[in-house]
Symmetry: D2
Amino acid sequence: MIKVGIIGSTGYAGQELVRILLQHKEAEIVWYGSRSYIDKKYASIFGNLFELVDASCMDDNIDELADKVDVIFTATPQGLCASLIKEEILSKVKMIDLSADFRIKDVDTYEKWYGIQHKSPSYIKEAVYGLCEVNREKIKQARLVANPGCYPTCSFLSIYPLVKEGLLDTNTIIIDAKSGTSGAGRGSKVDNLYCEVNENIKAYGVAGHRHTPEIEEQLSYAAGETVMINFTPHLVPMNRGILVTAYASLKKQVSYEEVKEIYDSYYKKEKFVRVLEKDCYPQTRWVEGSNYVDVNFKIDERTNRIIMMGAMDNLVKGAAGQAVQNMNLLFGLPEEEGLELVPMFP
Amino acid sequence: MIKVGIIGSTGYAGQELVRILLQHKEAEIVWYGSRSYIDKKYASIFGNLFELVDASCMDDNIDELADKVDVIFTATPQGLCASLIKEEILSKVKMIDLSADFRIKDVDTYEKWYGIQHKSPSYIKEAVYGLCEVNREKIKQARLVANPGCYPTCSFLSIYPLVKEGLLDTNTIIIDAKSGTSGAGRGSKVDNLYCEVNENIKAYGVAGHRHTPEIEEQLSYAAGETVMINFTPHLVPMNRGILVTAYASLKKQVSYEEVKEIYDSYYKKEKFVRVLEKDCYPQTRWVEGSNYVDVNFKIDERTNRIIMMGAMDNLVKGAAGQAVQNMNLLFGLPEEEGLELVPMFP
Amino acid sequence: MIKVGIIGSTGYAGQELVRILLQHKEAEIVWYGSRSYIDKKYASIFGNLFELVDASCMDDNIDELADKVDVIFTATPQGLCASLIKEEILSKVKMIDLSADFRIKDVDTYEKWYGIQHKSPSYIKEAVYGLCEVNREKIKQARLVANPGCYPTCSFLSIYPLVKEGLLDTNTIIIDAKSGTSGAGRGSKVDNLYCEVNENIKAYGVAGHRHTPEIEEQLSYAAGETVMINFTPHLVPMNRGILVTAYASLKKQVSYEEVKEIYDSYYKKEKFVRVLEKDCYPQTRWVEGSNYVDVNFKIDERTNRIIMMGAMDNLVKGAAGQAVQNMNLLFGLPEEEGLELVPMFP
Amino acid sequence: MIKVGIIGSTGYAGQELVRILLQHKEAEIVWYGSRSYIDKKYASIFGNLFELVDASCMDDNIDELADKVDVIFTATPQGLCASLIKEEILSKVKMIDLSADFRIKDVDTYEKWYGIQHKSPSYIKEAVYGLCEVNREKIKQARLVANPGCYPTCSFLSIYPLVKEGLLDTNTIIIDAKSGTSGAGRGSKVDNLYCEVNENIKAYGVAGHRHTPEIEEQLSYAAGETVMINFTPHLVPMNRGILVTAYASLKKQVSYEEVKEIYDSYYKKEKFVRVLEKDCYPQTRWVEGSNYVDVNFKIDERTNRIIMMGAMDNLVKGAAGQAVQNMNLLFGLPEEEGLELVPMFP
């Protein structure tokens, strides 16, 4: 039984980790960290877990925690994980960081886009970017996993095969993304109040969202050249879900069948990526509560562009689910353990 | 492995049965019945089940079906199950009817409130009302289970202990219920369009809703006398969930502790009924996707009334989950098999 | 042109006052008070008013304000208006208080239910309860109007005629109310975040909500005797709207026609109360954005109870609209001036 | 007083026409056409209009109608207006068609994208495309106005100035649009049920939506060359609102100030187009219920692209409001008559 500690267990991603791990046969949560709710019963905050979780919230004592658990998840704001990490900890436990601290290899890029100083840049190189479908083998050997961002996961998986295969003019990639509101976190801001979000859609972080360099870095690895994109996220009045609509010019004429074959060749064996059937486009409702990413594409012969789409639950494959998938890899478990969640509709 | 057939598998309750049974270790669906979608791939209708269900929809051939399965769920409009049932079928398979056909023991009451003629009244007596928490032992012996209605399940479980213990003036019971829109079904009616339901709340079936006699019958058994109530359902702009707020005058002065003890004594051992802590009231979000009913109460000393509350997922404990709970009882399985679903939030 | 000052103009009720007054021919807002946003452009907070309002927010300087305007609206938390009021102010301007400070005549009751000390009890007697349909003539003469609460307005108008006519057993009145989330205010609380409210319904303030004594006081005047009720509010995932479902036992048998005639006799001439047609029940969507209260009833002969229902926009008739209606009365304008807003659907 | 007839008055656009015209001082609706509800009280369908509209619905008798009114609005599915129009009608009344029948000048393009035969192609040339901000003078002289589509209005106005000024590489225009569900109409389709739309976002009509050629045609006029675009609409779980996010490569380096000046020069005098302030992006909530289109842009120096955004109420500026704006022009009234609706929030 893997002993698990969670730092930041009372945010939406933290709570989703709890929901998933409670249904995981090989893991047991022994530390519910939450600075904001120290000593408060976890189930008094999240009533869904009444009679399922008896524990109270703990402060962030990383040293004590490292002695008690096998793996630590940090589901915390940027900067916290980087400030906690040290050799002493990593020598005892595996760490899976759900924040952006170790996702970007270039520390200057990180500091520029996030506007904070990186507290432990020496660990950036060691950290493995935890996109299981791409870095599976590396993850298995890692001590520190940088769990990918929600938008990057969905964006990257939607276009990765075609970038890798060199089908796209990478100078033309535009990603228009839409996210449910749990992605905005559980902080008490006026902007996230029900009446401010409901009956509204807006773009935000236009040409400046922090997930941009993360997506670009991963696409650049796939393309073998520097890729620069436009990425525009939007806030949608729903709880969960990310939909990505990506556009790019095709380098040459290709048929539906050719492109479909490429997607299939990359994802056929991937349990958590579903390549949909022709003319059936991803919808967030079909993945809610599950670890699936649904992808598909449409070639527009008129403009010689391809529209690539992906849908995903931002809290599962975009956060807690992918983190558990990484944990499974780290501990030699079947990758899908605890993640065979059937999407819930409606 | 229990072989399962579902008649009406493309309604919301039918689809929820599929979602639950896919995660049930001892059951396998072999017949996805749906008159409206014959020969259509089930997963093309419910994209959440893509790569999880390969089957196509079948017509309602009860005789063929009875030869192939161990249990039939009918998740169909009123009247259908009553029109299908016959000795030949019941001698081969167990039946769990999610409609109201066999819930009400008095055929005149059924025909009056539902406005249709009962096609097989001779089976009403044999049918067991499938409220597991009350009729557990009878269900185990049954061939035909009448799965309780969504409102009745939540209403009844919220007030049952106090009625049974004789604490309430049963002439004063008023039940004000609120339901998510999946309760209205998947039929294409203007009234259920997004723009008609969203940003609105309304009462419906005022003083005439069909679940009234069902609640009254069960309460009457508990009270040992005829109980007549007011029941008013409301439609709420959300997908899932029923909240019941029930009012009654207390026959005598009682303390919080006394009432709490009663609730605990009835539900302590019931896995799927959670008696909340003091001043913590049921909310539909805390039970979403699960088989739980959360209940609690508040005594108003000023008016000598007690307010009893219950929250439940109408598609799970109010339909498909309870049906599977009944199936587990019918086949001697642990009652919670396939139903240990952690509520999903947000 | 009436010069208007608003204290608390950046809450939802305050902003709705602005929206309504901008369409009012005889009023002009000259003071947008908001402690939280001093010197900030009003239209930068509420983008709907871009190019319509050029002013910036002002601090709460009541003395300066009183010299500049003819009427002050206080759309502020409980206690503030009572702390500001004094003879010097009232001798210069009319005041319409949207908080509860002057609604309840018994200061002990106020202090007990609101848990704060009343700062200017001497003005309670003078203040007129601004329910125009009942106190029209008194309002015309007032200096200080206590604008009714949202739940009390809808609750009271739904049952008033029958209480006044002595048809109801006033010991049996139970009010089950449902409100949209704008009623919870614009404060940045976790409980009001989108993901906490969406896909959920809950009761709150059970047997202890502050609007209870306000409703009871007004019903007691109508009944000519002390009335004690149960009042249970619920939070509904929608922006606007209150629906009241009220229950009471009838003192004698009455027909639909008799009750309809009573309602009509009270409300026929009331522009803002619409008595719906038989079997057509109030829905919040039909009053959204308008000053209407829609009411209707259903007699349940089985239980000898009557179910009375009312729907209203909590920000209009339940707050800003009614406040403007009061302003019109105070200044001798047609009562409907600026309030002939057609409900917006969908 | 302009006498108005509406064919298709019981769809969402038709009902919005009624809401707006009821608040219009110079117009009076004398014919509420609706094939589906003949002889039914209009206010029994739309309860918001109870006590405001007494009329019943009429069949589509265009000849009788033409004798009774000054202007006919057709808020009907594609093909109906084209099947009704003839010289005899146009000689008597003005016609404003809210469908697509007369928007596209090339009949082959219309027939290809809409998949139906055009019944009166001879009137296409005469029809004026009713985008007031562009065709104001032509509209004043027209007999037949083709009211623009919702997506085209918002898309075009968001990018028009830059296309007209030759700043954009028109080969690179990509429009990613998001719409509330009222845009899907009031037909009773499973796809538009509450539970199918709620908690979901999806793309539809990818690379094939019918509004594509309409947008392209108008952009081509502005550009003075043939423009071909990618247009992808998405369905958002909200009632009203369209948000457009458009991308294009800049032909040359330009500063924020230069682009702002261009937008201002085109829209400064346009009452219904608001160019927002720097870094303040359009949101649908700020235009709800009003005739405004809010637009803004962001230059991305990294990719040399410009992101242009627009928000609009699809039922007002995107349908009924623009139609009334056209009516005002046709009859020599102030363009804003009846349209000075303050956006409603929340």
